[in-house]
């Protein structure tokens, strides 16, 4: 049996399903092929379930640690982990069902099965009822990525957990060891710490969040982790483990000397790798770069003109919202519209405690981009009324702008609701806004959002609600020393 479509999307994650829906809206005959679950990693074992767990842990943390100051006496709080798990699953399920409904409502043909290319024109799909042959004018590969493992730590999701297992625990572990201090490791480590787990983190580098964040942002996170009694080990390389009884003993090389760590579970969060080794992409002539990402141009077109790739498989940053943006773009390109990926920035959000969010350039990237004089405005949440009343005063908003034009180059937030605050900054960067645009926009009081306005004012040298030294907002960047 062979079916023909205008566009066939492989993978129903946040890239694929969005692409399929938009293509269908534009009048194409579309099929989407999914092997596991609609909504992909994001809705089922990634962003959404982790946010459910983090929100539960935060709730517990506030009850236990912040209610007393407000006058509450709440004895001991009991957690039914089974109930938490099924609530989390219900959140994911609700969202995934929504995706299915949307696909159906847009008349996208949904095929559950595993696809591989037979040629650049034909896709074979193994379904529960056999193998189907599918032809299409265009294919969109949106098959995503999977957790990366390290030698000696193959995922069994019992002892050695990936992020998937770490979000699906039956009970709260006594002690866990997190290998990898990137954003996934920190999000999971923090939520478990709040639920009562003793957490130790091994990071191979000498800083958390693999250097993608501003150092002062990382500092705030590090301080909070330590306050929550999470132990951090830098320059630490896990070498192997032995299981004896309930305990797992991990041997690691920490700053050159061998050390042992015991835990009931080990969570390995060292990154994710694109699923480009699946689906027989080479049979279609789709080229892959040495890092495993499918090579694409600014229209997300692969080395074959009828095959596109979007999302994690098409390159960094591996973020759901980037995938969705690309999905829409490709659907429109396939419908004959002239579109390219020309977004200035892909916002990044990290659901640590406090949250981290950023858009645009870091200070280091400003140097690399050749800016010599920048204005830096930093406004602490400690000086914001709403934050104080929330008892969440850690962190700050930091804005970087070109000193001459005042054009906003980057915004970095660490603090309460950073993830919800960053969209204003993303709009500012996309619009080419200047500091004055942010400073002169009336921000409602009392809100966390006022910090954005104040940070812009600070970058102009005159924030009202903090004391600024004259010219302290001007920063002369040192050009990078030439590589030796």
């Amino acid at each position: 049996m062979s079916q023909k479509f205008d566009t066939v999307v492989v993978g129903a994650g946040p890239g694929g399903y969005v692409c399929a829906i938009r293509a269908a809206q534009l009048g194409q005959k579309v099929a989407i092929i999914e092997r596991e679950y609609y909504g992909g990693v994001c809705l089922n074992v990634g962003c959404i379930p982790s946010k459910a767990m983090i929100s539960a842990a935060k709730f517990l943390d506030q009850v236990q640690n912040q209610s007393e100051a407000m006058g509450f006496t709440i004895g001991s709080v009991k957690l039914d982990m089974g109930q938490l798990k099924s609530w989390k699953d219900s959140v994911s399920k609700k969202m995934a069902n929504g995706v299915e409904q949307l696909l159906k409502g847009n008349k996208v043909t949904m095929i559950m099965g595993k696809a591989h290319f037979e040629s650049d024109q034909i896709l074979k799909v193994k379904t529960s009822s056999g193998e189907e042959s599918i032809e299409a004018k265009n294919f969109v590969v949106a098959t995503g990525s999977r957790p990366l493992s390290i030698p000696g730590f193959d995922f069994d999701e019992k002892n050695i957990l990936s992020s998937t297992g770490a979000l699906d625990l039956e009970k709260v572990p006594k002690k866990i060891l997190v290998v990898g201090g990137g954003y996934i490791g920190l999000e999971i480590g923090s939520y478990l710490a709040k639920l009562g787990t003793e957490v130790e983190i091994l990071e191979a580098g000498d800083t958390l969040l693999s250097g993608i964040c501003e150092p002062d942002v990382v500092q705030v996170i590090e301080r909070k982790l330590k306050k929550k009694a999470i132990k951090l080990h830098y320059k630490a390389f896990a070498k192997g483990y032995v299981k004896s009884g309930k305990n797992i003993t991990v041997t690691a090389d920490v700053k050159g000397s061998s050390q042992e760590f015991t835990a009931d579970k080990v969570i390995v969060t060292v990154g994710r790798k694109p699923n480009s080794d699946e689906m027989n992409l080479s049979a279609a002539g789709v080229e892959v770069n040495p890092l495993g990402f499918v090579k694409v141009d600014k229209q997300m077109r692969t080395s074959k003109s009828n095959i596109f790739a979007i999302g994690d498989i098409a390159g960094q940053p591996m973020l759901a919202h980037k995938a969705s943006h690309e999905g829409v773009l490709v659907a429109e390109v396939l419908s004959g519209q002239n579109r390219v990926f020309d977004a200035k920035t892909v916002p990044a959000v990290i659901f640590t405690d406090p949250e981290v969010a950023s858009v645009g350039l870091t200070e280091k990237q400003c140097v690399e981009a050749g800016y010599e004089n920048i204005s830096v405005g930093k406004f602490p949440f400690g000086a914001n009324g709403k934050a104080v009343s929330l008892q969440q005063t850690e962190g700050f908003v930091k804005i970087l702008a070109d000193s001459e034009s005042h054009v906003v180059l980057g915004v970095h937030i660490v603090g309460p609701q950073a993830s919800n605050l960053i969209s204003e900054a993303a709009l500012a960067v996309e619009m080419g806004a200047r500091l004055e645009d942010l400073a002169l926009t009336i921000h409602p009081h009392p809100t966390l959002g006022e910090t954005m306005m104040e940070a812009a004012e600070a970058a102009l040298g005159h924030a009202v609600h903090i004391i600024q030294k004259p010219l302290s907002h001007k920063k002369k960047l040192q050009p990078q020393p030439a590589e030796l």
Binding site: S119, Q121, G285, D297, D342
Partner: protein, 423 residues
């Protein structure tokens, strides 16, 4: 085996359609990857269109003479290589399926990568996402726009204005001239044949009309004593043969022209009417008119001042060959700062050439004729060569052109002087 379409690829440079000139294969032919299958003539050049992958040509979808839009289907073919068919016949080779796959995969990259047009906005471009999209939809390269907003922000109006100005500016200058389209009334239709004015001929027609309309031309004519030049070139021709290079007169004329243009830089200039400015160019790209079966082409020797006689001869031969075969790349026809037309190789003692706008001068060279020249006491048989210089009177006065020609003659009559200017 699946049927695949071969579509007319985006040739770039704003080309939107092409004329099907010639099939290079027949229906039913087996073709290899990258094999050219058709010749397409656009208003810029004639290009060969290859297939991306091996297969068998099933049917042609256009006829010779048809205009095909970019993306239009040219032919249908059955995918599958000759080698794949062989695999069936010779099972011994079936053990290497990987090799076939790779063979099919490799050529794809060359033809598939569609050029993104207009180019993607640089990160430094200050424009809202909506404005960036508007520019793309209006086919405007936003990187080229100087924004009028604060800090150089490109506004919606900037994009609209840019498109208006580029429509009236260099992109299609003929339109602002409002040239009347005259129709042709016939009394003898039966004895006439009508063919569409298109492709290169259409482009030539538009360019010539525009140049003659925009530029007030005038031509100065004189004859030069080329006794020394003939000798020099004869020696060089023999010497060049050792390098396998045919040395013609043209490179000498180019060298003498460049040396003279250095003394009279306005001959190497352009007028930017819209900006109200004269553009002086500190580089020397010499165009030379070439007669080809499809019409006049003007290949360009870029940076001719930095090349010696041997290099120039070689490049001229290559470019002329490409022009004849309709294989000139677009950049090989662009960017000339002054042009030479060599009508003398065919005949005629003098002509009044048309300047290749936006250049401001064109040098004509004519046949060398041995004439009796009075040397004061007797008539001596002397090789003489006519030259014309046609100039844009807006920029170049008659006296200046006369002096220019005099300075040029000084060099062409004493080729040894050219050594003074040798790189």
């Amino acid at each position: 085996m699946s049927q695949i379409e071969l579509n007319l690829p985006d040739i770039g440079e704003g080309v939107t359609e092409g004329e099907m000139v010639k099939w290079l294969v027949s229906e039913g032919d087996q073709v290899e990857a990258d094999q050219p299958v058709a010749e397409i003539m656009t208003d810029k050049a004639t290009v060969e269109v290859p297939v991306a992958r091996p297969g068998k040509i099933t049917s042609f979808k256009v006829n010779v003479g048809d205009m095909i839009p970019v993306g239009g289907t040219m032919l249908l073919m059955e995918a599958g290589s000759a080698s794949a068919q062989k695999t069936k016949e010779e099972p011994a080779k079936a053990t290497k399926p990987e090799a076939t796959t790779q063979k099919q995969a490799a050529p794809s990259t060359q033809t598939q990568s569609k050029e993104i047009s207009p180019p993607v906005a640089e990160v430094t471009v200050l424009a809202t996402p909506a404005t960036r999209r508007l520019a793309r939809e209006m086919n405007v390269d936003i990187n080229q726009i100087t924004g009028t907003g604060l800090a150089g922000r490109v506004s919606r109006e900037d994009v609209m204005n840019y498109q208006k100005s580029s429509e009236s500016g260099s992109a299609a200058p003929a339109r602002t001239l409002s040239i009347p389209s005259m129709n042709y009334q016939t009394f003898n239709g039966d004895l006439e044949e009508r063919v569409p004015l298109r492709g290169i001929r259409k482009k030539i027609a538009a360019n010539m009309q525009m140049a003659k309309q925009v530029i007030p031309h005038f031509t100065l004519m004189d004859e030069a004593n080329v006794t020394e030049l003939v000798k020099t070139r004869k020696q060089a021709k023999e010497a060049g043969a050792a390098y396998g290079v045919k040395v013609t007169y043209l490179p000498y004329i180019m060298k003498a022209l460049i040396a003279t243009v250095r003394e009279y830089p306005m001959f190497n200039a352009s007028i930017d009417d819209e900006a109200g400015e004269i553009v002086n160019k500190n580089y020397f790209n010499i165009g030379f008119a070439a007669d080809t079966p499809t019409g006049l082409m003007v290949p360009v020797v870029h940076n001719a001042d930095q090349k010696n006689i041997l290099q120039l001869s070689q490049e001229i031969t290559t470019l002329a060959g490409k022009a004849r075969d309709g294989k000139l790349a677009l950049n090989e026809m662009k960017g000339a700062t002054i042009t030479i037309t060599n009508i003398g190789s065919i005949g005629g003692s003098y002509a009044t050439p048309i300047i290749n706008h936006p250049e401001v001068a064109i040098l004509g060279m004519y046949k060398i004729v041995t004439k009796p020249v009075w040397n004061g006491s007797e008539f001596v048989p002397t090789p003489m060569m006519n030259f014309t210089v046609t100039a844009d009177h807006r920029l170049i006065d008659g006296a200046v052109a006369a002096n220019f020609l005099k300075a040029f003659f000084k060099k062409i009559e004493n080729p040894s002087e050219l050594f003074l200017h040798m790189v």
